[in-house]
C-alpha cells in the first residue's frame, strides 16, 4: 500500500468508470472543444451570479459522469471535490443539490488530483462502491475574488495565466472497465519565496518537480515508464522552469513526455498569456481530453501532477510568499482493461 515515504500503490486499481466535463464559451473556442461533454455559450449559464453559474458547472459535470456511467445519484456513496472560491461554496452548494455524502477539499488548483488520490484510496480499501470526485473553476468568479473586477482595465503581465471556466468529475469504482488509478503521491507544501501572484507557474514549478521526483523514488521507477507526465497549470514559464530543474537534478524526464494541461486547452491566438490555470483546468483536460486519448489507445500510462498555489488575496497583500503544492496520480490503461 504505502510505497516509500508518501506514495500509495493501489492493489485493487480503482477504475475511472466514466467522467463528465463541462466548459464555458472561451473553452468552446479552444483546442479541446470536442472533448467536453457540455459547453456553454454564456458565462452566466442563465444564473443570477457567476458564483451560481460556478455551482451549476459542477452539478452538470457530476450529472454527466453519473449518466455516462449508468449510475443513479443514490448509488454514489461519496463526493470528494472542491474549488477556489472562499469556503468552497460552489462545490458545497452543488453537493446540496446532489445530496450524496460529501467531503469538501481545498488544494487550490491541485484539488482535482487530491480528490482522485483520496477517492482511489477509499475505493481501494472498499470504503465505497461508487464515488465521485472532481474540481471546478469559473473565470469571472475566481478573477473577482483573487484579482480585479472582470471588466477592470488593468494590463496583465506576460507571466499571467487565464482561469478556466469548467468542471470535471470522475466516477470511481472498484469494478468495471476503463482507465485505472494505480498509485498516488501526495505533495509537500513547497515555498521558494516568490511573491508575484501574476507568476503562478514560476512559483508552482518546484512543488511539481518535488512531487514527481518523490514519485519516482518511492515507486522505484524510471520516468520512461510513463508515456505522458502532465502537470496541471504550470503554463509556459512553469513548464520551462520545471524542465530546467529536472536537468539540474539529473531526472531523466524528456521534453516531449512532459506536457501541461494549461498549454493544451486553448489554441494559439487566444489571449491567455502564459497559459491556462484554475482548478477546472486539470480536471477538464484530464477527465476529458487525456482519458479520451487513453481510451483510444494513444496513451497507456500517464502521471497527472495537479499543481496548486495556496495563496489568498489577503496573504499576498500582506506580503506573504506563495506556498505551492502538487499531487501526482498515475492512471494506466492496458489491453486487459479494455471493455
Amino acid at each position: 500500500m504505502l510505497a516509500g515515504h508518501r506514495t500509495w500503490v493501489f492493489e485493487q486499481k480503482p477504475v475511472i468508470v466514466s467522467t463528465g466535463t463541462v466548459g464555458g464559451p472561451f473553452e468552446a473556442d479552444g483546442m479541446l472543444a470536442d472533448d467536453f461533454d457540455l459547453l456553454h455559450g454564456d458565462l452566466w449559464l442563465a444564473q443570477d451570479s457567476y458564483e451560481a453559474a460556478h455551482q451549476v458547472l459542477f452539478e452538470e459535470a457530476c450529472q454527466k459522469a453519473m449518466e455516462k456511467g449508468g449510475i443513479q445519484k443514490d448509488h454514489v456513496q461519496f463526493i470528494l471535490a472542491g474549488d477556489l472560491i472562499n469556503q468552497i461554496t460552489p462545490t458545497s452548494f452543488a453537493c446540496r443539490t446532489l445530496g450524496s455524502p460529501y467531503l469538501g477539499l481545498f488544494g487550490a488548483c491541485s484539488t482535482s488530483m487530491e480528490g482522485l488520490a483520496l477517492g482511489a484510496y477509499i475505493v481501494n480499501t472498499k470504503g465505497a462502491k461508487y464515488l465521485l470526485t472532481g474540481a471546478s473553476s469559473h473565470n469571472a468568479a475566481v478573477e473577482k475574488q483573487f484579482r480585479y473586477p472582470t471588466e477592470y482595465g488593468g494590463q496583465k503581465p506576460p507571466t499571467a495565466q487565464w482561469t478556466v471556466t469548467g468542471a470535471g468529475a470522475a466516477l470511481l469504482s472498484g469494478e468495471g472497465s476503463g482507465p485505472r488509478v494505480t498509485s498516488a503521491t501526495i505533495g509537500r507544501v513547497v515555498d521558494m519565496g516568490l511573491t508575484d501572484p501574476f507568476n503562478m507557474g514560476g512559483a508552482m514549478a518546484p512543488a511539481a518537480v518535488d512531487t514527481i521526483e518523490a514519485h519516482f523514488t518511492d515507486r522505484k521507477l524510471d520516468p520512461s515508464y510513463y508515456d505522458l507526465i502532465v502537470t496541471g497549470d504550470l503554463g509556459k514559464i512553469g513548464r520551462e522552469v520545471s524542465l530546467d530543474l529536472f536537468k539540474k537534478h539529473g531526472t531523466a524526464v524528456q521534453e516531449e513526455q512532459f506536457q501541461d494541461c494549461g498549454l493544451m486547452i486553448y489554441r494559439k491566438g487566444q489571449p491567455v498569456l502564459s497559459g491556462a490555470s484554475g482548478a477546472g483546468c486539470s480536471a477538464t483536460v484530464v477527465y476529458g481530453h487525456l482519458l479520451n486519448r487513453m481510451r483510444n489507445g494513444e496513451l497507456k500510462r500517464m502521471l497527472v501532477v495537479a499543481t496548486g498555489a495556496l495563496l489568498s488575496p489577503l496573504s499576498f497583500q500582506q506580503g506573504e510568499t506563495i506556498p505551492c503544492i502538487a499531487h501526482a496520480v498515475s492512471i494506466e490503461y492496458g489491453e486487459g482493461d479494455m471493455a
Binding site: 473586477p149 472582470t150 471588466e151 477592470y152 506576460p158 514560476g202 489571449p271
Partner: protein, 159 residues
C-alpha cells in the same frame, strides 16, 4: 514584513529565484510605452474633439467646457466597460488607457458592475470605490499638501 522575508531567503530559495528569473517572460517595456503613448494620445484627441464640439455647438468657453467634456468621456468609458471592451483596450494600451480620466471611470464602473450581485447597498455602494478609493484619498491628500505649500510660500515667502 515582506522586506524582512526577502532578506531571510534560504540559499536554495535564492538559487531557485535566480533560475526562475531567467525563464520569466519580461514585460516588453519599450513596446508597452509606445502603445501607451498611442492609446493615451488617441483618448486625449477624442477628449479634445469633444471639447471643441461643446465650444462650437453649445454655449461653453474654454474654461467652462471641462465639466461636460469629463462627463462625456466618463460616459463613453462606462459604455465601453459595460460592453466588455475597455479591459481589452487596456490589455493593449496599458498605462495609456489607465492614466486618463477614462481609466478612473473604468475602475469605478467595473467594480460597480462586478458587485451588483451583492445588492445595491453592500454590493455596488460598498465596493464601487474599491479600486478608485485610494486614488481619491491620496489625490485629495496630495492636493492638500500642495495647497499648504503654496499658501505658505504666498503668505510668508513673499511670492
Amino acid at each position: 514584513m515582506s522586506n524582512n522575508q526577502k532578506k531571510e531567503l534560504t540559499p536554495v530559495q535564492q538559487e531557485y529565484q535566480k533560475l526562475q528569473k531567467k525563464r520569466e517572460t519580461k514585460r516588453p517595456v519599450l513596446n508597452n510605452c509606445l502603445k501607451a503613448f498611442l492609446v493615451g494620445g488617441i483618448i486625449c484627441v477624442i477628449g479634445q474633439a469633444i471639447q471643441y464640439f461643446y465650444i462650437f455647438f453649445f454655449d461653453f468657453t474654454e474654461q467652462t467646457t471641462g465639466n461636460p467634456t469629463a462627463g462625456t468621456m466618463i460616459f463613453l468609458a462606462m459604455l465601453l466597460t459595460g460592453f466588455g471592451v475597455y479591459d481589452r483596450i487596456a490589455q493593449f494600451g496599458g498605462a495609456g488607457s489607465a492614466v486618463p480620466l477614462t481609466g478612473f471611470g473604468n475602475a469605478v464602473i467595473s467594480a460597480a458592475i462586478e458587485h451588483r450581485t451583492e445588492g445595491f447597498v453592500l454590493g455596488v455602494g460598498g465596493n464601487m470605490f474599491k479600486l478608485a478609493g485610494s486614488v481619491i484619498l491620496f489625490g485629495v491628500f496630495s492636493a492638500f499638501i500642495v495647497a499648504m505649500i503654496k499658501t505658505i510660500l504666498t503668505q510668508w515667502g513673499g511670492l
